[in-house]
């Protein structure tokens, strides 16, 4: 069919289609051989790769702009400060936050959760109070709450999941009580790929006046997030999973909550004035950013976010959904392979076990075929216990992965079966 003007449908298709071959050129690390085979990088849920734009931004900072921020009157410090704060504004827009003061730079999701545990939950938690998490959390969203609950003689409640790896929403709601002081759940599970029904979770909690923290580490690389539309109280993510540098992450918090919260760490930059008698804390967001921050990391993360906006997360989501469906069909067809995590709403993750072969051996064979995956418990030992497996092999996708790479993965799994019969 030919037409002189683009129909709305074809416009939509054009918008939805991702030019993956062109996108792959933006990621220099993807173009190499590993053990003599082209690299197939499927460990994106552990760390995603960075585009050239991010590498260039880091290089520019170190080559021309490197200085400390918020301190010097000199030109370099001004440039560094402008880029550092510019990145914060980019991240604010990326998350749909109302105000740059709601964007706190941290080391990563783990530090963000610890910050909320220390500064938000601890002062509100009394003996017998409860924190509610889910059975599919990463250790970083379990251990800080266990430590706090132990200290405060509070209870950690865990909402169960079904055999597909989906949260049992009714059970979750039953666990909300007048003692619940915070709900902390992941937006997307790192071990299973489950997308949690966060709107329902937030609605149920808010109807009872309970605040909600979302661990968004595995969500932001795959789907557009708007914290104002979600009305979540805290949202945490890591830069290295969002095609940015290591050692940088973000805690979003509603301004009125952050204003009430005491600082997390003391030091430089988080103060307005210091005498030995009294220290006046700085305003948001600096109140929570003690010490010289990760300037290059922040600039790199801001660049990553701009890069993603240039592609469009709606297009990324549509492409990845199709790719995950293809991958699910491809690996499910392999005899003796069992997917762990088969939620209806899923993102990025193909976690599986193979009959009679330990995931560590699967990982070694795949590596020799150039295929990089994660094997182990994925820092989610309770999830492994729930499914009765010691570990899984996890392939996790990003928008630069292709169907051809999925085919390579499937062929490599067949090699595993050849070796282990």
């Amino acid at each position: 069919m030919t037409s002189r003007i683009a129909t709305p449908e074809s416009t939509l298709q054009a918008r939805a289609a991702l030019d993956v071959e062109s996108i792959r050129k933006d990621f220099p690390i993807l173009h190499q051989n590993v053990h003599g085979k082209p690299l197939v990088y499927l460990d994106n849920a552990a760390s995603a790769q960075v585009p050239q734009a991010v590498i260039d931004a880091l290089q520019k900072y170190y080559e021309t702009d490197r200085a400390n921020v918020h301190r010097g009157v000199h030109e370099l410090s001004q440039r560094a400060t402008d880029d550092y704060e510019g990145a914060r504004a980019d991240i604010q827009k990326f998350l749909g936050a109302a105000d740059t003061r709601e964007i706190i730079y941290v080391r990563g999701t783990t530090e963000a959760i610890n910050l909320v545990a220390h500064s938000f939950a601890r002062p509100r938690l009394e003996a017998g109070d409860e924190i509610l998490i889910s059975a599919m959390e990463h250790h970083s969203n379990i251990v800080p709450w266990q430590m706090l609950c132990e200290e405060r003689k509070a209870k950690l409640r865990v909402a169960p999941i079904n055999d597909a790896g989906e949260l049992l929403l009714d059970e979750f709601e039953k666990l909300l009580s007048d003692r619940t002081r915070l709900v902390a759940v992941n937006h997307v599970s790192n071990a299973l790929g489950t997308i949690n029904p966060i709107r329902e979770i937030i609605g149920m909690a808010h109807r009872r006046g309970i605040k909600v923290l979302l661990d968004g580490a595995q969500a932001v690389p795959h789907t557009a997030v708007n914290v104002r539309e979600l009305d979540c109280d805290f949202y945490a993510f890591s830069g290295h999973k969002l095609f940015g540098p290591n050692g940088i992450g973000v805690l979003y918090g509603k301004r009125e909550l952050l204003e009430e919260m005491p600082p997390y760490q003391g030091g430089g930059d988080m103060i307005a004035s210091v005498t030995f008698e009294k220290t006046i804390y700085n305003e948001l967001p600096y109140k929570f950013e003690a010490g010289t921050p990760n300037v290059s990391g922040s600039i790199g993360l801001g660049t990553a976010v701009r890069y993603l906006n240039g592609i469009g997360l709606d297009r990324i989501e549509a492409y990845e959904k199709e790719l995950l469906d293809y991958g699910t069909r491809a690996v499910s067809a392999i005899p003796g392979l069992r997917l762990i995590g088969t939620a209806k709403e899923k993102a990025s993750v193909l976690s599986f076990v193979l009959d009679g072969v330990h995931p560590h051996d699967v990982g070694t064979v795949l590596d020799r075929e150039g295929v990089a995956v994660r094997t182990g418990h994925h820092c989610a030992q309770p999830v492994m216990q729930r499914f009765g497996v010691p570990a899984t092999t996890r392939a996790s996708l990003a928008f630069y992965n292709t169907r051809a790479e999925i085919d390579t993965l499937a062929a490599a799994i067949h090699k595993v079966k050849e070796i282990f019969g």
Binding site: V357, H358, H360, T364, G376, H377, I419
Partner: protein
């Protein structure tokens, strides 16, 4: 594929599928636990030592092919060995996997079937899998109670 065959030799695959001495030992004279937190491999090693000689050895647990085969072949090898010899075997085995590459063929001498693990040295991430049982053995012989961790 050839280097994978170096790692997963038939003997290793066989012992991982059908581990020998895979049972609990009643009234062991010593036992120890080993754990690899990276991949979740766990094993419990049992020894029966009489007059400085290892009369029986067995293990239980779950792990990858390398760690299971290593424990299986180790327990086979240990039976009838003097305790000093077992400790010397540990050193030789460890050296084969972690020592300088060139003298490897010499290093493997005296290891018998255990030389099948020489290929593991080409897979640094897997050396811990092969040595877990041996570190556990050392702890059992030295009488340490704490769980051996390869991390």
């Amino acid at each position: 594929m050839s280097d994978l065959r170096e790692l997963y030799q038939e003997l290793i695959v066989d012992h991982s599928r059908n581990p020998r001495n895979f049972r609990k030992l009643e009234n062991p004279s010593c036992a120890a636990d080993g754990f690899n937190p990276l991949c979740g491999d766990k094993l419990k090693l049992f020894l029966k030592v009489e007059d400085g000689v290892i009369k029986d050895a067995s293990f239980e647990g779950s792990g990858c092919a390398i760690s299971t085969a290593s424990a299986s072949l180790m327990t086979e090898m240990l039976k009838g060995q003097k305790v000093e010899n077992a400790k010397a075997l540990f050193e030789t085995f460890h050296y084969m996997l972690t020592g300088p590459k060139d003298p490897q063929h010499h290093a493997a001498q005296g290891l018998g079937k255990l030389a099948v693990f020489a290929g593991v040295s080409e897979f640094p991430a897997r050396v811990k899998c092969a040595t877990l049982a041996w570190h556990t053995l050392k702890n059992a012989l030295d009488g340490h109670q704490e769980v051996v961790s390869t991390e």
